[in-house]
Symmetry: C2
Subunit: 221 residues, 2 copies
DNA sequence: TTATATATTTAAGCATGCTTAAAGATATAT
DNA sequence: ATATATCTTTAAGCATGCTTAAATATATAA
């Protein structure tokens, strides 16, 4: 291939199937901020080129080749993010946008050199796993969104959504960083929000925010 | 702007004006490996957008804005080359191609962070000067191609052309590196080639090769 | 100076990746 | 089960950046 648009489609398709189980044109169009018609159009091309298994009105599937391609793009993206954050000191709310451009402009050789230079990081600055050269991804076992926790549960932040506009700068503002410990003080069922303890302060998180912060439970002592 | 093609046109135009004094569509088409018709087409667009001062059948001029843009692209390109070579260990015959892609995919912020990380290099791995943030370029005073040297002149390699296919890997093979000292043993007028002493060996360089290696004369002791 | 070669532009055409508007298919609610 | 809402596709159109072929301008040589 060698095509920014197509690469973005594949990555978006892969991520959504991974996170939600499936994706249909409507959602894909929303994610890519383009019209539904454009999606139909491109799906035909991706299908023609063997990356997507496209059947009218059905949810979108990747072929084996499409999936490999998408995972390689995720690898590129996340390695660039690590570089930007760790080596150049760019904040975690800026790296996504920058990596989005770089991922389309680097050879595999370059990515592998970067990977070596960074000493083979396993996760990006938001906690997302980095696929290895063969597309293998270390799935973390017991990661759940904050919304899944029960009252009095303690947990450690291990991943935050890097894909939602303005979310990261807000998360930073309330003290969310990878590794930070939190505790659920209360769950307000009527709006799905949760009251958490963080840095000894109590903060109420809307369900939308809470659903984008992923944690590992800490077993009670 | 934000356009790979247009950025490549501007860079090529700038480089040629800088090196040869002018550029016309025919040469530009050759440099970019596209048809003359495509060049005419694009010149109209670049002109419309205020980057080029285009007049039919005349040689191509950059506007002030076009020139700034081109110099910024050179800055990006060369900073990336330094990073690839110095930090990642990529050989100097590979960095150009890779930087060619990266230069179009990085914000000025990123480039400035890289510049800082690299401790403000002044030249790229081929010896080309790196424009600063304001587009200022340190012109080296007394640099000439090997073809300009006289018999028995000694000189130090300070720059090699990064733009000619396969030239760099050949240059590497015969021992040319930045800083390397050479001496002219003989000039063969009938074909323009020169016999040089390098690493205690005598090598004949065609005029084409010699014209792509730039040196500073060393004053006789 | 005129013929010829070379350079440049114009014209028509094509794939890409979008758009909007309209038509058609599917899903949801009553 | 049927009406309605939503989703998806089709159709037509547009800018971009190329192509080749033909027309025109400029440069070079005799």
């Amino acid at each position: 291939m060698n095509n920014i648009s197509q690469e973005n489609y594949l990555t978006a398709i892969y991520r959504n199937i991974d996170e939600v189980g499936e994706i249909k044109p409507n959602l894909l169009a929303a994610k890519l901020a383009i019209s539904n018609a454009a999606v139909t159009d491109m799906l035909r091309k991706l299908s023609r080129d063997g990356f997507v298994d496209y059947q009218k009105y059905k949810s979108i599937k990747l072929t084996h080749e499409g999936e490999s391609y998408a995972k390689n793009m995720l690898r590129r993206h996340r390695i660039w993010e690590v570089f930007l954050h760790q080596t150049l000191g760019m904040t975690w709310d800026k790296v996504h946008e920058e990596a989005e451009k770089l991922e389309h402009s680097s050879s595999d050789d370059l990515i592998n050199l970067l990977d070596e230079f960074l000493e083979y990081p396993e996760v990006d600055p938001h906690g997302y796993p980095i696929p290895d050269k063969n597309g293998k991804i270390k799935k973390s076992k017991s990661v759940v969104a904050i919304t899944e926790l029960g009252e009095n549960d303690s947990a450690k932040v291990v991943m935050v959504n890097d894909d939602v506009k303005n979310f990261l700068s807000y998360a930073t503002k309330i003290g969310i960083t990878l590794g930070k410990e939190i505790k659920i003080k209360d769950r307000l069922e009527y709006d799905g929000s949760v009251l958490i303890l963080i840095d000894k302060k109590e903060i109420n998180l809307s369900s939308k925010i809470a659903s984008n912060i992923f944690v590992e439970k800490i077993k009670p002592a």
